[in-house]
């Protein structure tokens, strides 16, 4: 029987199946961070249970750690308690933890791939919805709740109902200035924020296969914003090249054997999906969100919509309340929206290629007066590699703050937050009310769009920007 990529991974991981209940799946990698794990470890202790496979479990601190000088003690006592709890839990249960002073610390979805922990054909889980990122390698990667974290710690397995399948096929070469972020925002705008609910998406088409691994991670990362359970892209030569030489990845003969297996991990020619959506990247434009869900998005050349444009009364109400929160009038030209803050970072867009692209926009330029702009590399390794290339100097000379790695202002659990009423161009993944700070207003964009916005103080059509200066 012809199978999809998802079905192949599913079948190779089923531990137990019986009629009328979910399937028990083996989990290859479990990633842990400080915010969604303490209650899970407490549960283990209360039941005198051990971690079944500490060797397949990796932890880091990312959500609430400060991105300022690491030699200074953490000011927030509650954050410190959570960070210390993770350290202690990892020590007690024998788990590798990339702690605050580790050269491998970083956002969990940045370090998994860069350390070779993430590989094709795997099942990967974490107590974080953006675990979908790891699907870029052709793995089944899911965000789970804390009870499920405890379950995976204890059993290395997860009960899962088989999701539906959705193919998102994107052909065509994206025009200059249209990035992976714009492709996924366009897809979410089309699907709606619940369009993928109950499904695993496989992204296909030459617009996807021509992307780098980091760009593929951006696509899969935001899959959850369309409501889907996971997103995946079949592994290919680009994937294998990326994996080579990474710390925890197989090497030598083992790698050759693994690659042989991975090459078979693609959807068979006559396999079918429950649903298919097709888009053409050559017609896509740079995207800017105007509302309070990532699906409330439009072209950079567009306008803020009018609630009356929407037929569905609930959507009309949602748009009206989004515009009220965002303090935007219907018909406002996107490029006229003025900004107070710019954030380049997050598990969506904080990797080296993102920072290189953004730096080209700001080189020799200055952040606009009245704008505060910040770059937060996704990991210590990204930061190191960026500094080797001198990117920190370009950003700092332009007036950007250059920070230590972490989730930072994507969710504002650490001191990096928007003040009430501040408006931010952000390369992160969620523009929910209050996400970046109570009363803060978030517009999601690509790294180059964010960088250009920092320089001009408002959104600009990056396609008309001199990108090579």
């Amino acid at each position: 029987m012809p199978l999809t990529l998802f079905e192949k991974i599913w079948q190779s991981h089923v531990v137990h199946e019986e009629e009328g209940r979910p399937s028990l799946l083996w989990i290859d990698r479990h990633l842990i961070h400080e915010v969604t794990s303490p209650q899970a470890f407490d549960g283990l202790r209360m039941a005198s249970r051990k971690v079944r496979r500490p060797d397949l479990t990796f932890a880091t601190v990312d959500h609430n750690i400060p991105t300022t000088d690491r030699s200074v003690p953490i000011q927030d006592p509650i954050s410190k308690k959570q960070i210390d709890a993770l350290s202690k839990n990892c020590t007690d249960f024998g788990i590798t933890c990339f702690n605050i002073n580790s050269p491998n610390q970083g956002i969990i979805h940045v370090i998994g791939p860069e350390l070779g922990i993430t590989l094709p054909g795997m099942t990967i889980v974490a107590g974080d919805s953006h675990t979908s990122t790891h699907g870029a390698f052709g793995s089944l990667a899911l965000g789970i709740g804390t009870s499920e974290v405890e379950h995976v710690l204890a059993t290395q397995c997860l009960w899962l109902e088989k999701p539906k399948s959705l193919e998102v096929h994107v052909d065509g070469a994206p025009p200059r200035g249209v990035t992976a972020k714009d492709i996924i925002l366009t897809i979410i705008g089309r699907l709606g924020s619940a369009g993928g609910t109950g499904s695993v998406i496989e992204y296909s088409g030459n617009a996807i296969t021509s992307l780098s691994m980091e760009e593929r991670m951006t696509i899969c990362n935001m899959t959850i914003e369309g409501g889907a359970r996971a997103g995946m892209i079949a592994p290919d030569e680009t994937t294998f090249r990326y994996i080579q030489g990474r710390r925890y990845a197989p090497k030598g003969k083992l790698l050759v054997g693994a690659e042989e297996y991975w090459r078979g991990l693609k959807t068979d020619a006559d396999a079918t999906f429950d649903r298919k959506v097709e888009l053409n990247a050559s017609k896509m434009t740079p995207q800017v969100t105007w509302g309070t869900t990532p699906a409330m998005v439009t072209d950079v050349t567009g306008k803020v919509p009018d609630p009356d444009d929407f037929q569905d009364p609930q959507m009309r109400g949602a748009v009206a309340s989004a515009l009220e929160y965002m303090a935007l009038e219907p018909g406002t030209i996107i490029q006229s929206i003025k900004l107070d803050r710019v954030f380049i970072g997050s598990c969506t867009n904080s990797r080296l290629e993102d920072l290189v692209a953004a730096s080209k926009m700001v080189k020799g330029r200055k952040v606009a007066p009245g704008v505060r702009a910040m770059v937060v590399p996704g990991s210590q390794l990204v930061k190191y590699q960026a500094e080797e290339r001198g990117l920190h100097r370009i950003f700092k000379e332009a007036g950007f703050e250059w920070r230590e790695s972490g989730c930072s202002m994507c969710l504002g659990m650490n001191p990096d937050i928007l003040a009430p009423g501040e408006r931010c161009a952000s390369t992160s993944n969620r523009n929910f009310e209050g996400r970046q700070g109570r009363g803060g207003r978030t517009h999601l964009v690509s790294p180059i769009m964010a960088a250009a916005a920092a320089v001009t103080g408002h959104f600009v059509d990056i396609r008309s920007w001199d990108m090579e200066s």
Partner: protein, 205 residues
């Protein structure tokens, strides 16, 4: 987990689509390392003004809905972050039953792990419930999971669908981990057949 069977409670209407888990529990309250005590932070940014005073306009603060134990809301409830704190906050506040046309996947799972029953009803029925709840003070419904019914104050019955296995787990208050550990032999057998790339050879590093 406490077994769930019958439940009766006042219905509180939250008339918004796409309520995300950042709204259910804002991030500044995710730093606790316990599972309890999150009820006070439920819908915090809507419920309290910036100065910490209750926002009288928000439905949780309306005197007529005090003691609400059934949350009636709109589609895609619980989207966004996977934080189980959202389920803990709803439960801690006193919501044991949710009614909506649809839920985000991770949140939906989290409800069942905590003994919360998220009922899915079609949009028309949900619309009608909103009208009835707003029209009648003290509007309460009885939820019977065994028979998959919700009884309205007028005695009319709404039937709902639920996956039989999820139902069984809620009814019996089953602990997932102990169920799984009963399958130890199968897990061990699968574990023994892992491919080399799936494991990490520490000596090789």
């Amino acid at each position: 987990m406490k077994p769930f069977n019958h439940h009766k409670g006042i219905v509180m209407p939250l008339d918004r689509v796409n309520v995300d888990t950042d709204q259910i529990v804002p991030k500044q309250f995710l730093k606790l390392v316990e599972r309890t005590g999150f009820g006070q932070y439920l819908f915090y940014d809507w419920r309290f003004q910036a100065d910490g005073c209750p926002n009288a306009e928000f439905v949780l603060n309306h005197p007529r809905y005090q003691g609400g134990a059934v949350l009636l809301t709109r589609g895609n409830f619980g989207c966004g972050s996977s934080r189980e704190h959202a389920a803990w906050a709803l439960l801690d506040y006193g919501f044991n039953v949710l009614i909506a046309p649809s839920y985000a996947d991770i949140f939906y799972n989290n409800c069942f792990k905590n003994g919360i029953l998220p009922v899915k009803l079609d949009g028309t029925t949900v619309n009608k419930l909103f009208q009835e709840v707003e029209g009648e003070e003290g509007y309460a419904v009885s939820t019977d999971l065994e028979n998959q019914t919700i009884r309205k104050p007028d005695g009319k019955i709404i039937n709902f669908e639920i996956d039989p296995y999820r139902k069984k787990c809620l009814l019996e208050g089953l602990d997932d981990i102990s169920l799984t550990l009963q399958l130890e032999e199968k897990i061990r057998s699968h574990e023994g057949k892992l491919q080399p790339f799936q494991v990490i050879d520490v000596k090789r590093l």
